[in-house]
Symmetry: C2
Subunit: 392 residues, 2 copies
DNA sequence: TCAGTTTGTCCACATGTTAGACAAAGTTAA
DNA sequence: TTAACTTTGTCTAACATGTGGACAAACTGA
């Protein structure tokens, strides 16, 4: 039933504690580790020597003295293994080879012109194989593959529905595991981005953070107590389909007045066409509208502000429900930031129940953060480090 | 910084594991505890003997043999200590003395005609003193006081705002601690009810549960991963103030189109008056309307269904956001269940994103559950059992 | 040059879990 | 009635691990 506690667990936990300390404060001396963790100096010495044997830690030259013997600095051996993390978007694959700190070694970008799963899958395999070739020799090699997808993923790594790819019931985790035979993690793109931003986007990571991915649809990744929350089956965060306008516009989900019918890229483009904001021979896109806004096209700016108003309503709702520390807006519509940021902040400040608004921060991210990739890499790394503990 | 792991911690954790096993499966033999927990028989024996010394466990007579020596059955000593839990409502105090399993020993109910804090506080103190007198002698005596309040409570037990009591910035935890000198826990009433229902309302407690308290206002208690989620400052769950109708009715919170302006007791009564559903000399109340509905008053039933429709919209939003296993509707409007339950289930099933609705269950609770009291008792008990671990 | 400081290792010791022996107390079947 | 088997609970020796403190090595600063 429950897990019992014995001396082996104690050792594993302490070893993990030492390793985490070294990861977070690398480079660091044994003495400092002992001081920070509260463990005995002798204990730290013995655990560190095992970590060195296992290639997780290396010794570098002596550090600066602080009035006594010079310390031997310990480094986390970030290249003891590598992960491959992918961001599968609509029309593209972004992929990266990362080390065990999540730092990106090599990047690949590929445009996709087909959406059929079988085709896309071979591209995915190709990209991964490419990155494996670029991978330096290391003690542990490839320790995991993480892939973020724009759709609903259950706890078994199965994609139940990815509307913009027109995929249904695809067991991607299985399929990739069969090919590469390493742990594979499949997660919703917004969830991964949320986790990635929490881990890498702040000096001190926020405890409770919501990441709104506002693209063609709207998804939300929730990091509560520094942990990704995904609900009973993994479907939590379907923010695009909360009702903001009773008896509002029909949504393909079968409901009416859904948030994403008012505040998404899709809503933006629909309105732009309806209002004739583009001439006949232009191809409609967010970037095109942004160009016009930059050229001070008042009607476009007005449209941006209207969409921003709806986004602000959604954010206010989230603040009232979750009392979060941080909200991040990502994906395509984060580009509207210059025209809507101030309005949103003002709206939330005025309309969220008083106390919250004093602490919550609303920011915009940019695609260059590679939040999804970094999040997926984090998942893979954490799974690897946990698996180590369980085996030894 | 982090907590280190040594043999003392191991012992504490194992002791807690043994105690929890005994609590959950009382009566149980030492041998069975060893089998269930995976601990060695000898370890269990030694830990149990300490638990007996500390009065947490008692031995009862021999149990039935299963083909060998008859086991000595161990019982959780539920009366080793007691808690007092209160539900402070608008116009009443409900209070109970409970044992360490949360079972109610004695109940008190008191109507309040005043709302001024000083007055109410003396009543609270009186009720607690009454219950203390009714408390049997026990090794640990009163181990904690828990009090659920209809307002916004921060992590320090301070009531920042209780609109229906007209209280602001009241440090209730401090005040009670000063009088009784035992641990005091103050929590929002919906949060407590959520926890109480999770702990005591099901055969197997749901992992992810939302409790909607629909009274004059609407609050939500969230139990995620069997833990109460309260957000950064403790203000999470302000569901009454999420926007469901863009540019809708003004709310006292400063926002417009808030959920509680359409789906609460307040909204119900307002509409009933507006539609002239009561004669001049009747005093308006939910119970009065229910009587009329029971007498088949069609307009009242129609009004109930309209309110139910809004409740369904709110629930659908919650299902889409949280992917919960269970939703419970409590407080005054749960009484409308006979007229709205089916409609709500149907609406949620039709409008929540497909996959969720297949698993989520929406139920109504009744005040007789004493959910808030039981939740507050749980908090107090858990705090007590934790404090034991830390000291020894 | 020497006293003081810091780092890291080593060893005896305390603590707690485990495995297994064992006795007590019961059941079952001939 | 008896003998073989089962179950329970205690006890002991063996083992693993963390702790505290001694100690040597390496360095600083006056």
């Amino acid at each position: 039933m429950s897990r019992t506690w014995n001396q082996y667990i104690v050792k594993q936990e302490n070893k993990a504690l030492v390793l985490n300390t070294i990861i977070e404060e690398t480079p660091i001396s044994r003495a400092k580790v002992a001081q920070v963790t509260g463990l005995n100096k002798g204990t730290v010495s013995s655990l560190v020597s095992e970590l060195i044997d296992n290639h997780f830690v290396t010794e570098s030259g002596p550090g600066a003295s602080s009035g006594g013997r010079r310390p031997v600095m310990l480094l986390f051996n970030q290249t003891a293994g590598f992960t491959i993390a992918l961001d599968l978007g609509v029309g593209y694959i972004d992929a990266a080879l990362t080390d065990l700190t999540g730092s990106i070694i090599t990047k690949k970008h590929m445009k996709l012109h087909e959406r059929q799963f079988n085709k896309v899958f071979t591209y995915i395999v190709d990209v991964i194989n490419n990155l494996i070739e670029a991978m330096p020799k290391s003690p542990y090699g490839l320790v995991g593959i993480g892939i973020g997808v724009p759709g609903v993923v259950n706890h078994n790594g199965e994609i139940l529905l990815a509307p913009n790819l027109n995929w249904k019931n695809i067991h991607l985790e299985h399929a990739l595991h069969d090919v590469f035979n390493v742990p594979v993690i499949v997660e919703n793109e917004a969830n991964a981005a949320a986790y990635g931003e929490m881990r890498f986007g702040f000096k001190t990571p926020p405890e409770h953070m919501l990441y709104l991915s506002i693209g063609m649809g709207i998804g939300m990744g929730m990091v509560l107590d520094k942990t990704l929350y995904t609900g009973l089956n993994g479907f939590a965060g379907e923010m695009g389909h909360i009702t903001v306008v009773k008896d509002g516009i029909n949504c393909r989900c079968g409901n009416t007045g859904c948030f994403e019918r008012y505040a998404s890229e899709q809503a933006l483009l629909e309105q732009a066409i309806k209002r004739g904001l583009v001439s006949g021979n232009e191809e409609m896109s967010v970037d095109l509208l942004i160009e016009k806004a930059q050229a001070n096209h008042q009607e476009v700016i007005q449209l941006f502000k209207e969409i921003g108003q709806y986004i602000a309503i959604g954010i206010t709702t989230m603040v009232n429900l979750f009392n979060p520390e941080q909200i991040l807006i990502g994906n395509q519509l984060s580009k509207l930031s210059p025209w809507i940021k101030e309005d949103i902040n003002y709206y939330v400040f005025r309309h969220a129940i008083g106390f919250h608004s004093k602490r919550v921060t609303v920011d915009f991210t940019s695609p260059e953060h590679l939040s999804t990739i970094k999040g997926m890499a984090s998942f893979a790394i954490e799974k690897f480090l946990l698996s180590i503990k369980e085996v030894e």
